[in-house]
Symmetry: C2
Subunit: 473 residues, 2 copies
C-alpha cells in the first residue's frame, strides 16, 4: 500500500465527511429521488454491466440479471421507506407536571444519521451486496454517505457501477462525495479505511478471518464505532422422518439445488443436514446423493475461494470422523459437489468439523435423539438461518428444536431452502456471532436502515429544532 493509495482513501472519506451534514438534513424527496435514480441508472446500463460482471465472476447472465432486478427493487424499496418517513420518525412524550418520577420535561425522540459509512463489498453478490447493494441503499436512505471498498473479485464492475452512480449524482446536482469508491485489494487499505476518524460505522460481508481483523480495528480506534459484520454461517437444516416418508424425493432435489446454487457460494447455503436415525432418513440421503452427484457447477468467484474449498474438503477427507457419502464425479468448471457424513458426537465436540465450507458441499449428521439434535444446534451457535422440515405440528420434539433454532439463528424456515433472502419489512438476515457481529441488526430487508440511525432525545426543544432533524415528510 503506497502513500498515494492511503491518500486516496483519506480523500474519499473526507469528501464523504464534507457532505454528511448536508445529507443528514436532506429532505425525503431528495433522498428518495437519488435512490430511484440509482435504480434507473443500473437498469439503463444493465446489459453492459451484466456482461462485465459475468466476465469477472462467472456467475452467468441469468443469475446476474436477476441480481440487478433485486438491487434495483431494494433501492426503490428504501426510497419508499424514506417517503413513508421512516428515517424521520419521532416519539413525542409531552411534559407532565409534578415531582419526578411522574413529573417530567417534554422529550422528543429523534434519530441522527451516524455519518460516513465504510462499506466492504461482498464477493458473491457483485450487485446486491456491492457498490449499490443493500448496505449502500440502506445507509443512503438513513442519511449517511458511503465509502465503498471494492471487492477484488469484481473491481472493473465496481468502478463501472460507481461511474453510473456518479453520473446519477451529477445529473441531480448532488455531490459526488455521497458515494466514494476505494480500490485496492490489500488488507492494509481496509484497515486504513476503518481507522479513519471520520468513519462513523462499518458494514462488512465476507470471511471470518477478514471480518474479525476489521472488527478488531474498529474496536481499537480511539473512538470505536459500530461494526455491522456478517462473518459466516453454516445454516443447519433438520428434516424429521415424518416429512421424509411423504415427500423425500422432491425435498432431496430441492436441497441438492440449494447446496450447489451459485457453486455453493451463498452465505445462506445449507451446510449441515441433521437427520434422525430412521429408514426414511437413509432413503433421503440416497436420493440427495443421486440428485447432487451429477450437478455441474460454474467456476468459483476467485482462485482463493477455490483453494479454500479444496482445503475444507481435504480437511474432512483426512478426518476420522468424516466420510464421503459418494465419490464425486470429475470437476466441471467449478468443483464437483460433495456430501460428507460426519459423526454427530464428534461434530458437537470438535469445532474444526463445524467450519464453513464455502462451496458446493454439505455434511450429513445422523443423530440418535432430539436431545442430540438440539446439542448439534447449540454447538453450531450463531447462524443466519435454521431450516426445520416436518414441523407442521406442535410436539415436545418440535417445540424443543424450534426453541434451539430460535436461539442460534436470525431466520427460521419451515419450508423451502435458506438460499434466497426476500427483501421485506419482516426479514432478518443476521444472527448471533459469527453470523453477525451485531446480532440485533439485519443486513437484508428494510430494518437494515436502522443500523445507521442513532436515537437523540430532544428535551424542551423549540419548534425550529424539531424541524431541523431532517425535514419532516
Amino acid at each position: 500500500m503506497s502513500t498515494t493509495e492511503f491518500q486516496l482513501i483519506d480523500a474519499a472519506v473526507e469528501a464523504a465527511g464534507a457532505v454528511a451534514g448536508f445529507w443528514a438534513a436532506s429532505a425525503p424527496s431528495v433522498r428518495s429521488g437519488l435512490l430511484r435514480g440509482l435504480a434507473s441508472g443500473l437498469e439503463q446500463y444493465q446489459a453492459a454491466l451484466v456482461a462485465l460482471a459475468d466476465e469477472e465472476t462467472g456467475l452467468g447472465a441469468g443469475r446476474l440479471n436477476g441480481e440487478v432486478a433485486r438491487t434495483a427493487f431494494q433501492l426503490r424499496g428504501f426510497a419508499d421507506e424514506v417517503e413513508a418517513g421512516v428515517p424521520y420518525q419521532t416519539i413525542d412524550d409531552q411534559a407532565a407536571a409534578g415531582a419526578p418520577p411522574v413529573g417530567r420535561p417534554r422529550l422528543t425522540r429523534t434519530h441522527e444519521p451516524l455519518g460516513p459509512v465504510a462499506m466492504f463489498s461482498a464477493s458473491n453478490f457483485p450487485f446486491a451486496f456491492s457498490v449499490l447493494g443493500g448496505d449502500t441503499a440502506s445507509a443512503l436512505a438513513a442519511g449517511c454517505p458511503v465509502v465503498v471498498k471494492t471487492h477484488s473479485g469484481h473491481p472493473r464492475l465496481s468502478r463501472a457501477v460507481h461511474e453510473v452512480a456518479q453520473g446519477v449524482l451529477d445529473g441531480m446536482n448532488l455531490p459526488g462525495g455521497l458515494l466514494g469508491l476505494v480500490d485496492g485489494a490489500s488488507r492494509a487499505a481496509g484497515l486504513h479505511l476503518v481507522a479513519h476518524p471520520q468513519i462513523a460505522a462499518v458494514a462488512f460481508t465476507g470471511s471470518y478471518q477478514g471480518g474479525t481483523a476489521l472488527w478488531k480495528a474498529a474496536n481499537e480506534r480511539r473512538r470505536p464505532v459500530p461494526f455491522f459484520g456478517e462473518l459466516g454461517s453454516i445454516n443447519p437444516l433438520i428434516a424429521l422422518p415424518g416429512i421424509l416418508e411423504r415427500d423425500s424425493e422432491a425435498l432431496a432435489n430441492t436441497l441438492a439445488a440449494s447446496i450447489t446454487q451459485g457453486t455453493g457460494q451463498f452465505c445462506t447455503s445449507p451446510g449441515v443436514i441433521v437427520l434422525l436415525d430412521h429408514p426414511a432418513s437413509d432413503r433421503f440421503v440416497a436420493q440427495l446423493s443421486a440428485a447432487l452427484q451429477p450437478i455441474k457447477t460454474h467456476r468459483m468467484l476467485t482462485p482463493g475461494m477455490r483453494n479454500g474449498f479444496d482445503a475444507g474438503v481435504a480437511h474432512l477427507l483426512a478426518s476420522d470422523a468424516a466420510s464421503q457419502v459418494f465419490e464425486p464425479l470429475a470437476d466441471s468448471e467449478g468443483p464437483a459437489p460433495r456430501l460428507f457424513k460426519v459423526d454427530a458426537k464428534a461434530f458437537i465436540e470438535d469445532a474444526n468439523l463445524r467450519e464453513e465450507m464455502f462451496g458446493p458441499a454439505a455434511v450429513v449428521l445422523t443423530v440418535e435423539s432430539i436431545e442430540q439434535a438440539t446439542a448439534v444446534l447449540h454447538a453450531i451457535g450463531g447462524s443466519l438461518t435454521a431450516t426445520l422440515w416436518g414441523f407442521e405440528d406442535a410436539t415436545d420434539d418440535t417445540r424443543a428444536l424450534l426453541r434451539a433454532a430460535r436461539q442460534i439463528a436470525g431466520r427460521v424456515l419451515f419450508s423451502g431452502v435458506p438460499t434466497g433472502v426476500a427483501v421485506t419489512h419482516a426479514q432478518q438476515h443476521g444472527g448471533p456471532w459469527p453470523a453477525s457481529t451485531q446480532p440485533q441488526s439485519t443486513s437484508v430487508g428494510y430494518a437494515a436502515l436502522q443500523r445507521y440511525l442513532r436515537p437523540v432525545a430532544l428535551q424542551d426543544a423549540p419548534a425550529w429544532a424539531l424541524a431541523q432533524q431532517g425535514a419532516q415528510p
Copy 2:
C-alpha cells in the same frame, strides 16, 4: 478470587441459564406480575432499605427515598410495556406470488430474548442502577434472567434488596434463578462472569477503565456477546450571551446545584461550561462562582472515588492551561466545589484536559467564536447529554451548534440541567463512545428493553410456532 468464588459465579449463571427458556416463553401476565411484585417488595421494606443505603453510600434519606420511588416507578413502567405486548411485537409480511424480488414467502418478524444478562451495578444509584434498577427491570421485561454483580460501594444493600426479590419470587412460585447475585469486589470476578459461555449479554454502568476491561473480555469470548456499557461523559453546556443578559443569576444558581448534586456523582453532571467572549459571560461566571463556592457536599460514595476526584483536581491545578476561578473553601463531609477556567484551544488539543472529573467540579471555556464552540463539542466526542441555553431562535449559529450537539450526544436539552433523567418512551440515555459502547441503545427509558431482544424472522411458520414465541397478550 478463590475457586469457591468462581464456583458461586458459575452456579448463579447456570441457575439463570436453566430458567432462561421458561422465562423467554413466559406469558405477559406472569412477567408483569413479577415486575409489579418487585416494585411492591421494594416499597414494603423501603424504610429499612433506605437506612441501609444511607449507611453505605451517605447519599441521604431524601435522595434515597426519591430513588426508591423512581425504581418502583420504572419496574411498573416496564410491567405496563409487557402488558401492552411490546416484547411480543411482530411484523407480518404475507407471501406474494411471482418470481423474486417481488415474489416471496410469508415472513413474520418476532423477537427472541437474548438469554442470561450479566448486570454490573453502578455505585451512584444504589437502587435505580443496581439490583432492581433499570437494567434488571428492562431485561426481565424482555424475557431474560439477570445475574447481578454487586458494587463494592453498597454490598449489604445489594444483598438485602436481593433477599427482598427472592422473597417475591418465592411468593409467586417463580424460580430464584431469574435473579442471581454475585458478590466480590475483584476485577477477576467480573471478568469471570462476562466470560461465562451461558452469559448472552452484559449491561454495565461505571468507570471507563473498568468498563473497557469488561468490554474487551466480552469481545475476546469464543462467541462475543452484546456489551451495553456506559463508560463516562463530560456533558457540555453552552450558554449564549443573549439568555445570560436576561436571566443569568437564576441560571447560575440552577447550574451550581446541578454541578454539586449528589456531590457531583451523576453520569449526567454538567462538566464543561462553554461561553462566548462577552461581558454577560463574565458576569455569569462570577454569579456561578458565588453560588458554587459555599455549597456543602456530602461524602463521596467510596474512598476510591474521592481519590480519583482529588487526582483530577491536582491534574488541572498542575496544568498551565487551567486555573481556578475561585479559591475553594474548606471541605465539608465531601470535597469543596471547584470551578476551573481552561484555555479553549488547549482543551481542544489535549485529551488530558477533557477527562471526566467525577465529583463537584466543572470547567469553564471561553470560546472566541461559534466555530470554536463547535470544535469544542467535536473534541469532547461522545457524551450522554449536551445542553444548549439561549437557543430559542433559529440562526446560523444555533443551527450549527445544534448539529454538532446532535452528533455527539444522546440527549440535547434546551432548558434546565442534564442531571435528572426521566423514564419515558422518548428518553435516550447513551451516546457515541465512550458515553455508550452501543450508541444506538439506551439504558434509561422504555426503549431499554430492546437491548435484550434479537429479531428472528419465521418463514412460512405454522400457527403453533407463531404462538410459541412468547404467549401473545
